[in-house]
Amino acid sequence: MSTTFLPCGEYHENYRQDHAWWQTRFIKTKMIALVLVLFIGIPYVADEYWLSVCNQIGYTALGALGVQLLIGFCGQVTLGHAAFLAVGAYTSTLLILEFPWPKILLDLGLAYPLSIFVAAVAAGIWCVLFGLPSAKVKGFYLILTTMAAQFITVDFVITQYISQIGGRGQAFSLPPGTIKIGPWVIDSDLKIYYMMIVLVIVLTAAVVNLLRSRVGRAWVAIRDNDISAEVMGIHVVQYKLFAFFVAGFIGGVAGAFWISNLAAISPEHFPWFWSLWLVGVILIGGVGSIHGTIFGSIFMVVVMELLQMAVIPLAASYPKLLMDFLFIKEAAFGLAICAFMIFEPNGLAYRWWQTKNYFNLWPFSY
């Protein structure tokens, strides 16, 4: 599924062409157009509501990217990823609120960007801790150890200890103006959107590049058959733990990003349900596909919002429909997962792949 056929008449003559990011002029144009749409088109067209929907897609995609890496590329099933988002969010928040930053860094607006990096590293290391059992166990047993990450991290460490710092109780307030990058105070949906787009692009590119490297090939080998991978000389434990680190790192960035959207943060923002939701995102988008992560995030957020839009006109006659929508939404989520598992186990990414190949091979598609 990973191979996309070249359009009719396009040939690669060397490895450089074969490994290029954007292999044809058409793809390059398409990607430039996509960047323009993301950076100019959407902010120009979308109002505050749709920008906030985009931000939620970005948050979901960042969270799901780490899950995709672990489940889709390294075969390590995780059901506790919200914990690492929480570690990132809390580390960044604490650094911003409590760390005695040198004045020059504060003046330059570097406190938040640096806190994102530290938060990501902290979440990565924390993720490795819960990845350690993967050296010994796999399958259902590994799922249970990753679930433990959720309960130990959010319900125990953060709730009982981290949240007590500062004496407010359980929620940290992030006063307006706290989140600042360089001279820009991140105080509007548009600024959050730009930050989200940059983070999603940078991290997606980083993960795609990692997957094209020796490390990525080792992960895929472990996913496909860890015993064979070991026989081939891959240090399985080392690579598994590195996958956990990278997944945690990305989760940490997602958490640290999300605080820019909030004015107060509490453990309630990272429920176990969110870990399940992220797995649902990659199942619907397509396991083992970066496109799938993005498609799954868009599907899970936008389709639900559009369904809601469809319900609004009917609400004039049936007011209770809006209130009952969440029941429909929950049921739709469950049904969508069942339907994808049965009819399209490769997810939305597979449809995308088929569509692209159809046009690439046209008029000689078969």
């Binding site: 929907v53 407010r168 929620a171 909030l262 004015a263 509490s266 309630e268 209130m323 969440l326």
Partner: protein
């Protein structure tokens, strides 16, 4: 073919929803409710009350002739969802929002302040009562912190003098609540401060989930401390489970409860264990004798006939309180020619002085420096199968020097 027709119908509906804005004559009010999430045990009845109260307002002239268009969503107590729903309300031209939980209300507070959107929440967190920090957050109830202080004071005034150890030792006090929940933890600092003020010995807090159906380990941990009174900060389902276990394990303490854990369902769920429980309620119980209660009951029967009257809760009255307060504020703002966020706040809410809703709660006074409606808190107890008023604790009158310093926490 049928699938294509379905897609076309959906597309038309999406487009219609996309373009939806209120007609000029309507005043849009958004409402975020929890019918399916962690607090749905109390959220369902509240949501019904919101819709019924808005119908009452519209039947009685709306906003000086303009009908209120209520857009009500269930967000399942999920904070990210609350954020996008709020933006959707704005997009639909809402002039005010009826909000729900403490987590999302606190998370949205700076946004609503920047948007100048009056946000009347079912969260009565003391953190939302200081207009310097949260100018557009309001609620038609005494705040959690005042309620917690008042309930502990009422217990200290009425129960402790009858205790065998009165004047022999300090009374012992402990808290049981979900640490992770901003709602449950909001008044912790205040109630402990009050406990210190009244001379209590404070025991270890117990972490009990909002979803708890069993709290035996927490009760066993409390038994070592032997509290005389335990404050419960969760909602009814969880509180009743904790009280049942306390009864079964013979904890021997009295129970005081935050208002979202104290309603008509408590004795149904906790049975004998509920006897003697105390709480500060912010309004009358459903069906109690107050001037507006006949209307509340009439509209409940009219708009939700499928919900049996005996299942209706005090949550309905809380919802009516918030809706009637906002209605009054919007009417005043409209009369002043300023039916917008700032107008509703300054020409509406902040002009109310001792305004009576007729629902059994404290009268409403909002100023530009204090959004706590009153310093007088009614405290109830469940005794002999009935909810009865114990006393009205006048916090402001009793601690006039401290009252102002308690604002905002």
């Amino acid at each position: 073919m049928r699938a294509r027709a379905l897609v076309a119908v959906m597309a038309i509906m999406v487009a219609a929803g996309w373009c939806l804005t209120a007609s000029a004559a309507e005043v849009v009010v958004g409402a975020l409710n929890d019918m399916t999430g962690a607090t749905s045990d109390v959220g369902k009845d509240y949501a019904l009350g919101i819709a019924e109260a808005v119908n009452y307002c519209n039947d009685n002239g709306g906003i000086n002739g303009k009908p209120i268009k209520l857009v009500q969503f269930d967000y399942g107590y999920r904070v990210p969802e609350a954020l996008t729903k709020y933006k959707l309300f704005k997009r639909m031209g809402a002039v005010a929002v009826q909000g729900w939980g403490t987590g999302d209300t606190e998370a949205l507070a700076p946004t609503v302040a920047a948007d100048k959107m009056p946000y009347v929440s079912a969260s009565y967190s003391g953190h939302l009562a200081d207009p310097k920090k949260t100018p557009f957050n309001l609620f038609a109830a005494t705040d959690y912190s005042s309620n917690a202080r008042a309930t502990l004071t009422a217990w200290f005034d009425t129960r402790w003098p009858k205790h065998a150890d009165f004047n022999k030792r300090k009374p012992r006090f402990a808290c049981s609540y979900m640490f992770a929940s901003p709602y449950a933890s909001a008044p912790i600092k205040a109630i402990k401060d009050q406990a210190t003020l009244l001379g209590f010995e404070i025991g270890p807090d117990q972490d009990v989930s909002l979803f708890a159906v069993d709290a035996k380990s927490q009760i066993l941990a409390l038994k070592d401390f032997k509290p005389d009174v335990v404050w419960h900060g969760n909602t009814t389902m969880s509180v009743s489970a904790t009280m049942r276990d306390a009864y079964a394990l013979g904890l021997g303490a009295d129970h005081i409860i935050n208002l979202w854990g104290f309603d008509e369902n408590l004795p149904r769920l906790a049975e004998k264990a509920a006897e003697g429980a105390m709480a500060a309620t912010v309004c009358a119980f459903y069906g109690e004798n107050t001037p507006m209660m006949p209307k509340v009951v009439e509209y409940a029967k009219k708009f939700n006939p499928g919900v049996p009257q005996e299942k209706r809760l005090i949550r309905t009255i809380q919802a009516w309180s918030n809706v009637l307060a906002l209605w009054e504020a919007m009417k005043r703002a409209d009369k002043a020619g300023a039916l917008n966020g700032e107008g509703i706040l300054t020409k509406g809410f902040q002009t109310m002085r001792e305004f009576e809703l007729g629902l059994g709660g404290a009268s409403l006074t909002y100023t530009d420096t204090d959004h706590r409606i009153s310093g007088k808190v009614p405290v109830y107890e469940y005794k002999n199968g009935k909810f009865q008023r114990v006393e009205v604790v006048d916090l402001k009158g009793r601690w006039p020097d401290k009252w102002q310093s308690w604002l905002g926490w």
